[in-house]
C-alpha cells in the first residue's frame, strides 16, 4: 500500500505527532517502502491460523486486592513540567 502525503498527515494527527511540512513527502516515501516490505506477508496463506499475541501460551496472573502503594506524590511529581496544588497542569481543556 502506497502511503500518500494526506495519509501521513492523518496518522500523524492520530498519533499526535507534529511533523514539519517539508518532511511530509519523505515520510510518505519511507512509510510506503516499509509497507512494501510488510506486504511480503501476503505470500503466505494464513487462513484458519490463530493470531498469536504473546510468545508464551500462558494466562494472566492475578494480584490480591491489597493497597500496597502509599502517597508518593512529591517524589513522582519531581519530573513534572508544570504542577500546582498537586495537579498536573495542561492548556485549558474544553469539553
Amino acid at each position: 500500500m502506497s502511503i500518500q502525503s494526506e495519509d501521513v498527515l492523518k496518522i500523524a494527527h492520530l498519533a499526535r505527532l507534529g511533523i514539519e511540512e517539508g518532511q511530509v513527502e519523505s515520510y510518505a516515501s519511507d512509510l510506503s517502502n516499509i509497507m512494501k516490505l510488510v506486504e511480503q506477508m501476503n505470500e503466505v496463506d494464513t487462513s484458519g491460523i490463530e493470531p498469536m499475541a504473546h510468545p508464551l501460551d500462558q494466562s494472566q496472573r492475578l494480584r490480591a486486592d491489597v493497597v500496597s502503594e502509599t502517597n508518593q506524590r512529591e517524589e513522582l511529581q519531581k519530573n513534572a513540567p508544570e504542577i500546582e496544588d498537586g495537579l498536573f497542569l495542561v492548556p485549558r481543556v474544553i469539553d
Binding site: 492475578l62 500496597s68 502503594e69 500546582e84 496544588d85 495537579l87
Partner: protein, 477 residues
Amino acid sequence: MQWETVIGLEIHAQLATKSKIFSGASTAYGADANTQACAVDLALPGTLPVLNEQAVRFAVKFGLAIGAHIAPYSVFARKNYFYPDLPKGYQTSQFDKPIVGLGELDIVVDGKVKTIGVTRAHLEEDAGKSLHEDYQGMTGVDLNRAGTPLLEIVSEPDMRSAAEAIAYVKKLHTLVQYLGICDGNMQEGSFRCDVNVSVRPMGQEEFGTRAEIKNLNSFRFIEKAVAHEVERQIDVIESGGSVAQETRLYDANKDETRSMRSKEEANDYRYFPCPDLLPVEITAELLDEMQRELPELPEAKNQRFQTQYKLNGYDADVLTTQRAMADYYEAAVKSSGGETKLVANWVMGELSAGLNKENLAIEAAPVSAERLGGLVKRIADQTISGKIAKQVLELMWSSDDNADTVIEREGLKQISDTGALEKMIDELMAQNMLQVKQYRAGKTKMIGFFVGQLMKQTQGKANPQELNKLLQEKLKG
C-alpha cells in the same frame, strides 16, 4: 406522526475493590489530588499492569447473576486516544473478548414484566479527572481515579420509554449493590450512565440515528435527559433535518443536552490486544466458587419476604431495594421475636424518616437492627404503646441504650394493671358526672374525653386497648 423511542444504556459501575485494577494504589474517594496515583497509574516509563483478582471475581459474579455466558478466556485491549486524564494515551479495556457475554434482566413497568437484553459487560480502567478551575488559565489534572476498576454493562436497545430505562437502571443499581460489587454511589460517580437515544416512526423496523448522552448521575436526570433528547430529535426530524450521531452532554442546570465539541472528531481507537497483559482465564473452579458466593438476588428475596414474612408486595419492594435494608429488616424481625409486619412498619416508617432527616444510609443507622427489634418486641408485648415507642426510639437514637434500658430508666412502662386503671377510671367518672351522663345519653364520642384525661394522667402510659375496654364497660353503667 407517532414516534417510538429506542433506548440502550451503557452503565459504568465502579467495582468496590480496595486497590486499583492494575496497581496497588488505593481507590478510596476524596483523597487529595494525585496522592493515590502511583507510578503505574501515572504511566511512568517502564511500569507494568498486574490485574486485580477481586475485579475479575466481581465481574464473574455479575455475569452469573444475569445468567450470562462467562468467557473462559477474555482479553484486555488498548483503546488509543489522547486526553490529559488518560496517562498512558490508551485505556486498557476489553474489546472483542469481554469477560461477560450475553445475559438478561427483567424489569417491571406498569405491572408488566419486560426482559431487557444485556449485550455484554467488560472490565476496564477509569480515567482521571480534569479540573477546570482556573490554574493560571490552565486545566489541572488529578489522576487519583485513573485505574479504578469499572465494569461497563452494555444493554441491547430494548427500552422504549424513559420509564423503562429508569426501571432498568434501578434494577441494575440494586443488583450491583446486592452482589457487593459496587457501592452504587451516584454522586461520587460510582455508578454512571450513558444513554443512547434514537427515535423512529412507530412501526418502522430499522433504528434511527442515535445520540449518546453522557454524564447522567441521577435517576431523575436520566428521565429528564431522555425526555429532552426525544423531543429534540423529533423536532429536528419534523423540521426537515436529520439527527447527527454524536455525543451529547446533559446539563442539569439548564435541563438540556448539548453537543460535546471535544468528542466531535470521529475517533479511530485502534484497539489491539494489550501485550502487557495475558488472556484472563476463568476456570470451572472459580465459576463454582463464585456461584456459591452469589447472594440471594433481589427478586428471590422479594418473593421470600412475601411468603416467609407475609408482607404485601409494596412492603417487600421497599424492603428489598437495598440489600442493607433487607438485611436490617431480617435482623430486626429476628430480635423482635418475629413481628414481621410491625417491624416492616417501623423500618419503613420511623427509622427511614430518621435516616432521611439526617441523610444517613441504612448502614450508618444510629439504632442497630437488634435494638430496633428489641423496641418492637416491647410494643408487641404491650410493655409500651406505639406512641411511647416513638419517644423511646428518639432516646435510643442519641445513645447506645437498648429499648428496655430506656423504658426502665424513663419509667415509660405501660400501665396494663386492670385494678389500677379501674381505680383511676372510677375517680375520673366521679369527678366528671356531667360527661358520664352525656355519654350514657348516647353521646358515645365522649369516650375520647376520658381517654384523653387518663392518658394525660398516666403520661401516655396507659395501655390503650385495656383502657378502652374498661372505659366502655364502666361508662355503660
